[in-house]
């Protein structure tokens, strides 16, 4: 109880400081670069308040609340991705079942702790169901392309996202907050990497990681390195909350940073596919994918590494 209060106070004061800084940055920003950085900072701060709310819900409702919140995130993300992906009207029913059958079943499995089916529902069963339903529509044009698009969207938006709340079910008995430390660790490390990297990326005269004409490619070497350093520092600082030893925490932070980098590269690829019009279309609606994609990539890898290599992180009640 005492620890919860200390943690709560720490988080609250951190958020207040961040919001204060955001106001300050917005007032002071003059040049183009500092304006952009102030914008990044205030978007991030707003997001952190939301995340803190998710944690409060998680602690109060014994994970079910958080799982429901993440299922809504999945829903909105899938909605965004399918919106900018050209699909055919023949596939209307297939897409309906992705939204209203596969997604809810997947999250229900998580709520009911059925781990065995949870990890294979989409990669195995949906993998057969989706193309079969497409074939059953009777229109076989571009069959492979249609099946691949829907399967990819399900993997990214439902399967990957759901591994973040799945962390709530891994119990670390020695940690002060038995069911939330891993999710907290993941989200905070991802945020540290992404915030520092995107701030550094906006600075002038940085070295892009890839020589390309494509404007979507914003990664720079300086961003990657400083972001990873920030992630490692935060990861090490958080290790007492979890049961990770220091080297384990360091390895996890580096892995998470690596996955964030991978997600940024893939996001650049997606955006170049959508073109300017598609990108603007989802930006009008808030472009959730920009903020969630790093988590999508990091969550499943972090989940399985925690499960395999940290022996005390044992699943509770998974059958």
């Amino acid at each position: 109880m005492k620890e919860s209060l200390i943690l709560g106070a720490a988080v609250l004061s951190f958020l207040l400081i961040c919001s204060g800084l955001a106001v300050l940055f917005n007032k002071k920003s003059g040049s183009e670069t500092s304006r952009k950085m102030a914008e990044i900072w205030s978007t991030r701060t707003r997001m952190w308040w939301g995340m803190a709310a998710i944690f409060v819900v998680a602690l109060l409702t014994k994970s079910v609340g958080s799982i429901i919140v993440f299922s809504l995130i999945s829903f909105m993300l899938l909605r965004e991705l399918i919106t900018v992906t050209p699909t055919r009207n023949e596939d209307h029913k297939v897409l309906l079942s992705a939204f209203f059958m596969i997604l809810p079943i997947h999250y229900l499995l998580l709520i009911s702790n059925w781990y065995g089916l949870f990890v294979i529902l989409i990669p195995v069963y949906a993998f057969f169901v989706v193309p079969t339903m497409i074939a059953a529509t009777g229109s076989l044009d571009r069959f492979f392309e249609r099946a691949a698009k829907i399967q990819w969207a399900l993997m990214l938006c439902v399967y990957c996202v759901s591994h973040a709340p799945a962390l709530l079910l891994l119990r670390m008995d020695g940690a002060p907050f038995p069911n939330a430390p891993l999710l907290m660790f993941l989200i905070i490390v991802v945020q540290a990497k992404e915030t520092v990297a995107s701030l550094v990326n906006t600075l002038p005269n940085m070295h892009p990681t890839l020589k390309t004409e494509n404007v979507q490619w914003t990664m720079t070497w300086e961003g990657v390195l400083t972001g990873t350093a920030a992630a490692c520092a935060i990861g090490l600082a958080l290790s007492p909350l979890t049961e990770f030893s220091l080297p384990q925490a360091l390895a996890m932070s580096i892995t998470i940073s690596f996955m964030c980098g991978a997600s940024n590269m893939c996001l650049a690829g997606l955006k170049s596919d959508w073109g300017r019009h598609g990108t603007v279309l989802i930006e009008c609606h808030g472009a959730m994918i920009d903020r969630i994609m790093p988590l999508c990539f990091a969550a499943p890898v972090f989940f399985h590494l925690s499960r395999f290599y940290c022996l005390t992180a044992t699943p509770v009640g998974f059958h």
Binding site: T87, N89, H92, L96
Partner: protein
């Protein structure tokens, strides 16, 4: 019964906005109470509801959608929606072989319904398209515009609705959509019918790229 109409209206507006996750962009003009003809591409049953819902409520009171009589007066439910909720004007679609007199009568009733106060929502393609191509415009809108002094024609491009609820489907797919209002056009003195319709159509097509 007024309350029931209102409730049905709110329910439809909320439902349409939720299902279509729509963002309204007033790119070429602002909402206004002056007399206008809003014309849009037509690809889904949601079009009429969503376009109507995208207009702010104070202006919406003076906007009447044109509803095809053959479709909207068929059942009691449709009649209720068309007349009580949307406050629409029935328009008689002119099919081949009906002659010029029927067309004239149909236009007459719309102009009368608009009076000097009401704006109109119309889908000049006449019927739902496949959502990819914009069909040819029927000439009705030209004749209506000609009859009303100083009316503004506002193009409205409705994106993605054909994917949310395509022709013949019952359940909507929860995708996102945009409703974009473009810059108003006005008919020039002595402008020919086909030229004017083409200018309108082009203005709508241009909104696709914004």
């Amino acid at each position: 019964m007024k309350i029931l109409d209102q409730l049905a209206g709110w329910f439809l507006i909320g439902g349409a906005r939720f299902v279509s996750g729509s963002v309204t962009r007033w790119a070429g003009c602002q909402p206004s109470k002056r007399q206008r003809i809003y014309y849009a591409n037509h690809s889904s049953h949601l079009d009429i509801i969503l376009l109507w819902a995208s207009i702010p409520s104070s202006v919406r009171k003076i906007v009447k959608p044109a509803a095809a009589r053959d479709y909207w007066s068929k059942t009691k439910g449709r009649r209720f929606l068309a007349l009580n909720v949307f406050n629409s004007i029935f328009i008689d679609r002119v099919f081949e072989g009906m002659g010029p007199r029927a067309a004239l009568k149909s236009i007459e009733s719309v102009v009368e319904g608009m009076g000097e106060k009401y704006s109109l929502i119309i889908f000049p393609e006449g019927t739902r398209g496949d959502g990819e191509k914009l069909g040819e415009f029927k000439s009705g809108v030209y004749h209506i515009a000609k009859r009303i002094d100083d009316v503004e024609l506002v193009p409205v491009y409705m994106e993605n609705l054909n994917r949310i609820l395509p022709k013949g489907m019952l359940l909507p797919l929860p995708l996102l959509s945009n409703v974009t209002f473009g810059a108003p056009l006005k008919m020039e003195n002595g402008e020919k019918r086909d030229e004017f319709l083409e200018r309108m159509r082009q203005a709508l097509l241009d909104l696709k790229e914004i």
